[in-house]
C-alpha cells in the first residue's frame, strides 16, 4: 500500500513514452498501454523513487492553487495505489 511516506517509482516492466498522435504521456508495459491525463502524467513523472508522495503532493499543490492539500493527497494516493495494484508502480525498497 502506497502511503504519504512512500517513495514510488515506475515498475521495471513499465516505460513512459509520449504518444505522437495525442501528445499525451503513456505508460507502456507488456502488450498494453495506458494513456495518462495531463495531471496523472505530472504525478507519474514525479515517481522517480526519490520523491515521497508527500513531496509530490507539495509540488503539485504549488501549481494547483485551487485544490486543498488533503484533496490532492487523496487523489494522488488513489491514482498510485490503482497503478500499484496493476504492478505498474512500486515502492522503492
Amino acid at each position: 500500500m502506497i502511503s504519504a511516506a512512500s517513495r514510488p517509482q515506475l515498475a521495471a516492466k513499465a516505460r513512459l513514452r509520449r504518444d505522437r498522435r495525442t501528445d499525451r504521456l503513456m505508460i507502456l508495459y507488456p502488450e498494453k498501454g495506458i494513456e495518462l491525463s495531463p495531471t496523472a502524467a505530472e504525478i507519474v513523472r514525479l515517481c522517480t523513487g526519490e520523491n515521497t508522495v508527500a513531496e509530490i503532493v507539495e509540488r503539485l499543490g504549488a501549481s494547483y492553487a485551487t485544490a486543498d492539500r488533503a484533496t490532492i493527497e487523496r487523489e494522488v494516493l488513489d491514482l498510485l495505489n490503482g497503478l500499484a495494484d496493476r504492478c505498474l508502480i512500486e515502492e522503492r525498497s
Partner: protein
C-alpha cells in the same frame, strides 16, 4: 481513445522456424509456403513505418524469434524508435549471453512459454526436451534484470495443475503470468479432441486463477485468458479487424491477425513492395471486416457488435466455411451447434493422440 482505426501494436513474426513442435501452435498449417524471410533492413524499415503510423509496442515473435541472428539488431532498431519491445520466446535457444546482449540492445520484456510444471508433460506437448532449459533462461532473465512474463497455454491435460503453475511462476519471481486457454485455430484446431477441456475443468481453473490474482495483487500480474468455446459471446478478436494491430508474417505479408492469410478470397500486400501506411489506409484486405457494414445477422442488429466486433473471422471460416459468418462461439450464431458438439466430445473424453507442428503441411 477514439474509434478511428489506429495501430498501437506491431506483431513481428520474424520466422516460422521453431525447434519446438507444440501441438497447439497458432501458426498456420501451411508453414512451408512462407519460408522466404524478410531481411534485417526490411524489418528496420517496417519498424520505422509502424512507429510513424502510431505504433508504440512491438511484439517479436514467430515461430521462434531467437533462431534469427539479427534479433539484437532488430531490438536495437525498435529501441531507437522508442518502441516498447517484448520478446515472445520458447527460450530454445536462449543462452544467458544472448539475454545479456538483448538487454544491452534495449529489450524491455522477456516472455517465456512453458508447457507444464514438470519436464515430462511439458516436453510431451512441446515435442522436444526443453523444460529445464526454459527454467534456466527464466532464472537468467531475472538475474540480468529483465521483467519476466511466463506464458502457459492451458488445455485439458494441464488445467488441473494450474495451482502448481502459479507456484512455479512465483518461485521464478515472474512479474507477469499469462494463463492462456488454447485458441482453436491453426494446429490447435487439428488437435482439438486431445486439448479441449470440460466446462467443470475450466471453471475450477478460473476460480484458482482468480484467487491467485487477488492474493498476488501488486506483486505479480495474473492474467486468465478465457476459453472462448465456453463463453456465451465471442472474444473481441484483435480488438477488431484492422483496428489496433498490424501483424507482419515472416515473408512480409501485412495482416490484421495471425491467420488472416489462411482466409479464402482475400489477398494481402507485402512490405517488400508496399508501405505500411498505404496498406493500413487503403488496402481492401484491411477494409474487408472493419466497422459494421460487412456484418450478417445476428451481429448487425446486436448491441454487442461494438464490443466483440463479430468475434474471430478465422474461427468463423474454420468452423462454418464462411469468413463473413458470426463467430460460432456466440450463443446467438446459427452455427453454434459446431461448438456444442465439440463440448459434448470433450465430455465424452475419447482418447486422442497429438499431431505435432511441422514445417510440412499436416493432413
Amino acid at each position: 481513445m477514439t474509434d478511428e482505426p489506429r495501430p498501437y501494436t506491431l506483431i513481428a513474426e520474424l520466422t516460422y522456424r521453431c525447434p519446438l513442435r507444440c501441438v497447439y501452435c497458432s501458426n498456420p498449417l501451411e508453414l512451408d509456403r512462407h519460408r522466404r524471410e524478410l531481411d534485417t533492413a526490411t524489418w528496420l524499415r517496417v519498424l520505422a513505418e509502424a512507429e510513424e503510423l502510431g505504433v508504440v509496442q512491438v511484439s517479436l515473435t514467430g515461430g521462434e524469434p531467437c533462431v534469427r541472428d539479427d534479433l539484437e539488431e532488430i531490438v536495437a532498431g525498435a529501441r531507437r524508435l522508442d518502441l516498447y519491445t517484448n520478446l515472445a520466446t520458447s527460450a530454445v535457444p536462449l543462452p544467458r549471453e544472448r539475454l545479456e546482449r538483448l538487454r544491452r540492445a534495449g529489450l524491455d520484456n522477456v516472455q517465456i512459454s512453458i508447457q507444464d510444471v514438470a519436464a515430462k508433460a511439458s516436453d510431451e506437448v512441446a515435442g522436444l526436451a526443453s523444460f529445464e532449459r526454459k527454467l534456466e533462461a527464466a532464472r537468467a532473465a531475472k538475474e540480468i534484470g529483465f521483467p519476466l512474463t511466463l506464458n502457459f497455454v492451458l488445455h485439458r491435460g494441464n488445467l488441473q495443475r494450474i495451482g502448481e503453475v502459479i507456484a512455479l511462476a512465483e518461485s521464478l519471481d515472474a512479474d507477469r503470468l499469462e494463463l492462456a486457454n488454447t485458441q482453436y485455430v491453426g494446429w490447435a484446431l487439428l488437435n482439438r479432441a486431445a486439448l479441449l477441456p470440460t466446462r467443470e475443468q475450466l471453471d475450477a481453473a478460473r476460480h484458482t486463477a482468480a484467487a491467485a490474482r487477488e492474493r498476488l495483487k501488486g506483486r505479480m500480474e495474473v492474467l486468465f485468458v478465457t476459453a472462448d468455446y465456453y463463453s456465451q459471446f465471442p472474444k473481441a478478436c484483435m480488438d477488431g479487424w484492422g483496428r489496433r494491430f498490424i501483424l507482419i508474417s515472416p515473408d512480409g505479408l501485412v495482416l490484421p491477425c495471425h491467420a488472416a492469410h489462411t482466409l479464402p478470397g482475400l489477398s494481402f500486400e507485402n512490405v517488400r513492395n508496399r508501405s505500411l501506411a498505404e496498406v493500413w489506409g487503403s488496402s481492401p484486405s484491411f477494409a474487408r471486416f472493419r466497422g459494421e457494414d460487412w456484418m450478417p445477422e445476428p451481429c448487425r442488429s446486436c448491441e454487442r457488435r461494438t464490443v466483440d466486433f463479430g468475434g474471430c473471422r478465422c474461427q468463423a471460416f474454420l468452423l462454418t466455411g464462411d469468413a463473413t459468418a458470426t463467430d460460432p462461439v456466440c450463443s446467438l450464431s446459427p452455427h453454434h451447434h459446431a461448438i456444442e458438439s465439440a463440448r459434448a466430445e470433450a465430455r465424452a473424453a475419447v482418447p486422442a493422440s497429438f499431431v505435432y507442428r511441422s514445417m510440412k503441411a499436416a493432413t
